[in-house]
Symmetry: C2
Subunit: 233 residues, 2 copies
DNA sequence: CGCTGTGTTGAATGCCGTCAACGTCGGTGG
DNA sequence: CCACCGACGTTGACGGCATTCAACACAGCG
């Protein structure tokens, strides 16, 4: 394999504050890998032998309940570290990671974590910041589930998705990867039926346009009103 | 103030792997403080000027929604670090901390975090492990909210509380601090009315005994069946 | 050209939130 | 000491939101 070029990662959040020689050193320990759409990058409960940085694509992070129901914990976008069990002293992955589209990632053996994080404390700090952000974001979603109605939760979920993984198109902002009603239901703790009804309603109100595994938000501000419970009707 | 004795903290999880001289050094930067029941130790959104280790008592961690509803994120027990915004690179507290009973805590200025964590990487690692545990636990609660009925969620919450903060008494295991129906509702995303009904029902089935701000689980195994949705009836 | 995954929509059920009223405990001040 | 008051808890009745059950439509694919 040819060496990886530091321009791949220079300037990205996770590598903020590191110099060229440091980036080269970190990259020297990595390989790059491709994952086909719907491939499992790692599985919940498996030994955490590697950690990852997503160069391109979108990854769905999923946990499964004892009785088999799936819950989508989050989506990872290009430019984020993931699978960093080592950073929190765990040796198994707490969730599964599935490629939502064809993906490219950098992959390090977990064994390198201790060396890299002691040699480059800034890198470790950036990873811990990422963990912290995810903790806060998870708490926020927990609060939504605890206090809001389904309609508001789904609206919030869509707004989060377009903000984080949106692509500007003719009619508005489109979610940049295939996402089904079932997926949205698993993010918001409801059923695909309810999601379908909500999207149909919003479509006729001109807030969104949606089709098979596709959602475009055409009126973000209007949707935000719904998300905050300001029902006009 | 007299020096704090290292026997206060030796052997506890957060200080695992540190020697006597290291403990002394860490303690040298701390002061101890008392908080009366219901006192706010810190407030959501405030600048994170200090971080804490709970020596005695129980602390309720609370976030408030934009429209004023409170959600209890977790309870902190004696022997845990908390308010460690510095460990995840934040400079404000993401939640409020309220003393559930009279409490005693060690308090460090946040400014010391960088020094302590670079000087004692083991200490920093222990803190990051704590953050990781809380992320996983928060994810689990999010999954419960997304997939389970109120009855199961409340049962799980009680089981978690007795496991983590239980005190063995004559009739079973009692939650070691005052907790109201409202508190349980705020942990589980329901109303005090529903919690009251559930506890009444369980009391007549012999699973729990409860009174004013008191809950005792008398049949943990039976309650676990309820928590897992094995309703006999 | 059928099959599977995805999406839509109607109808019925039921969980649990809301509204309401009352009971009880404990602390506090006269 | 006792009366009062506020916080906490209980219980019934009602209703609505969302799940469940069911049937059908449509697209992509082998």
């Amino acid at each position: 394999m040819p060496g990886l070029d530091r321009s791949l990662i220079a300037g990205l959040d996770a590598f903020e504050g590191l110099g060229p020689r440091e980036l080269d050193h970190i990259l020297a320990g990595a390989r790059s890998a491709r994952y086909a759409r719907d491939a499992a990058i790692f599985e919940e409960g498996a030994e955490a032998t590697t950690f990852f940085f997503l160069l391109d694509g979108h990854v769905r992070v999923v946990r499964t309940t004892p009785d088999g129901q799936q819950v989508i914990a989050r989506y990872i976008d290009a430019g984020e570290l993931f699978g960093i069990a080592a950073a929190i002293g765990r040796n198994t992955y707490p969730a599964s990671a599935i490629a939502a589209v064809d993906c490219v990632a950098l992959v390090w053996p977990t064994g390198l974590w201790a060396d890299l994080s002691s040699r480059f404390p800034i890198f470790a700090g950036n990873a811990h910041k990422t963990v912290g952000k995810r903790l806060l974001e998870t708490q926020s979603r927990m609060m939504e589930l605890a206090t809001q109605q389904v309609e508001q939760r789904v609206a919030h979920a869509l707004l989060r998705l377009v903000r984080q993984s949106g692509r500007k198109v003719e009619e508005g902002i489109e979610i940049d990867f295939p996402i089904s009603r079932q997926d949205i239901a698993e993010m918001t703790g409801t059923t695909l039926h309810t999601v379908s009804r909500l999207l149909s309603g919003w479509e006729s109100e001109g807030l969104v346009r949606s089709g098979r595994q596709k959602v475009t938000v055409t009126d973000p501000h209007g949707l935000l009103l719904v998300a905050d419970g300001h029902r006009r009707k």
